[in-house]
Amino acid sequence: MVIQQAITWVTIPFFLVVFLSGIVDVVEYSWVFVLVPLGLLLGTTYALVYYYRFEYGITPDTFDVRSGVFSRRSREIPYGRIQNVDIARGVVQRLLGLAVVSIETAGGGNTEATLRFVSESEANRLQHQIRRRTAEATERRRRRADTDSDAVESGESPLPDDSVAGTPGEESASDPDFERADGTATAESGPQISESDSRTYESRRRRLFDLEARELLLYSFTSFRPAAVAAVLFVFFLATDTILDVLVTIAQPVGGPEDLENGTTGSYGVLTIVSMVNGLVITYLLSVAYTFATYYDFQLGRIDEDFVYERGLLQRYSGSIPVEKVQSVTVTANPVQRLIEYAGLWVETAGYGPDSGSGSQSAVPLADRRRVYAFTENLTGVERPRFHTPPSIARRRYLVRYSLIAAAIVAVAFGTAWATPLERWYLAAVVFLVVPPAAHLRYVNLGYYVGEDHLVVRRGFWRRRTTVIPYYRIQTVSTRRSIFQRRLGLASLVIDTASSRTFYWATPTIYDIDLEDAREANGVGRTRLQSALRERAQSDDVGLSVDFT
């Protein structure tokens, strides 16, 4: 085990040196011979010191990490605050039997603790230890909330936190596998404990959803990842000349120019079109391959109060999401998926997940739409929504908005024609043809439903998202009216939850409804938040029901 870890630590300085020598090359070649061994030495030393100075431990109440070579940081994460625990295994790591464990809490945009290079069995052990303790902490808090509400009812003041100090003490006394170990010790003692422990743990696992081959293929082919565009562009910038040559060669049989310098306007046009088609096809195939590799062998299960999932072909991810931490649930479908009546299901937590850089996790990548709806209803207990649509004046608003965008495009075309020999700029006016359907599609995909315990918001054409927000998860509600909306008597309602979304997935918003309706929904959200919180304080019920399938 130690040898394995040492090997991994050597690979880091190796890559560091490769990188360093890349920079050094620019300056002076001969430096490399001095700097590479030096870098290797320094890197190895640093890595070894970092390794020996890295400690983590499971205590009764917190998960502790102490790390750092020059500046030391010791961090204690209370179990009750942990959102999800993820394990990632890359290709090299899988060969070496290692894994990376990440622990997320709601605070900050970063992973709170990352344990690199722990053995796989240790990673699994950590994951379910933390999961168990998180569940215990939740249980404890619920019990305390009970005593609190009893106290309030009997007219006493709420108990301060330290009144339950006895509980954690009991925990530590009755806790057989409390230990505090540095990396080496844990790595050696880990497997024995996890062997027996994980077997009983795994046996409690209940299967909820497995992504079948057919669904995986459908998902790969019907979804598109923007990351693929970035990857293609990156490669293009790295090897511009080679790629241009290839593109010219491909375009030649269909009437492309001999080379980039000599060609007629027509042949350049052919080259452009052929290259664009090439680019699109390659990007799409890359996206398909990426999705396939990411969601290969996706499994979702449930162990006690946690959702656990596993996925990945080359890099294997496994994660756990406490059911209690789920903030909202979103059903997504793009136009193609809607056509074949399929949809995906995502759950949002306040953490920071491994993909999309936000707290949303794919619970069901793609499945039959009816099945996904059934999942959603079981998971949240939401009744089938009867959507209200915004007033049709909203459609007029989109018509105006998209017309302005189209006008801007035409203006740009005109500007280009003015500065370059490009002719017939007015042909750009065809974009106006797209405006009415675009406005209509945006409008018909908008919808909202103010339910008994949930608010359901639907929006988006290219990636239609239907988000189910339980009232008790609302953080703030805002009614927004821009100057244009004020003229039309419209308003947008922004419902903020603790799920940390990035720019990629905006906060759930009900767009362009009548001001009266917006105010009413706002009021309903606020009052139901209060009543739902009161109900929750009285009953032991976790907000989300237990059955998923």
């Binding site: 931490k325 903030q327 953080q475 805002s478 927004r480 009216r481 922004v494 903020d496 938040l529």
Partner: protein, 153 residues
Amino acid sequence: MESLHPRIRLLWIAQWAIAVVVLGAIIAVVSRLFVDVPSVALGVIVVAGIAIAAGYAIRLYQAWRFELQSDALYLERGVITFVETAVPFVRVQHVDTQFGPIERLLGLSSVVVYTAGSRNADVRIPGLTPDRARDLQDTLRELAVESEADDAV
């Protein structure tokens, strides 16, 4: 509904004015080094910038209102986009009072309310007298503690 202290207009104008003057300085440097920008144009940009700032600040001051309601802190603000926000007391994570250098000069202070949300996660009420700010901070803290929920994220 409570409105802000009238001096907040001065603060906003001052902040804008600083930005406009910095912009003017950059333009001046550019005109010295590269392209010649007539000094009249420079003057017009600066004056227009400050005039817009003044108008904006006055409108914003008129629009800004806040209130402690039974269950939530309620705010209204915005010139171009008018926003009404309700921050339920249960959701308040912590409350800060802050004041920057210009605010200190003008004898003003802000209260910042943090929630666990993703957007509007921190709500700032500017333009309060230091006493009022401390007062509001205490009230909000008490209300937040009183209505503590058990489903902390």
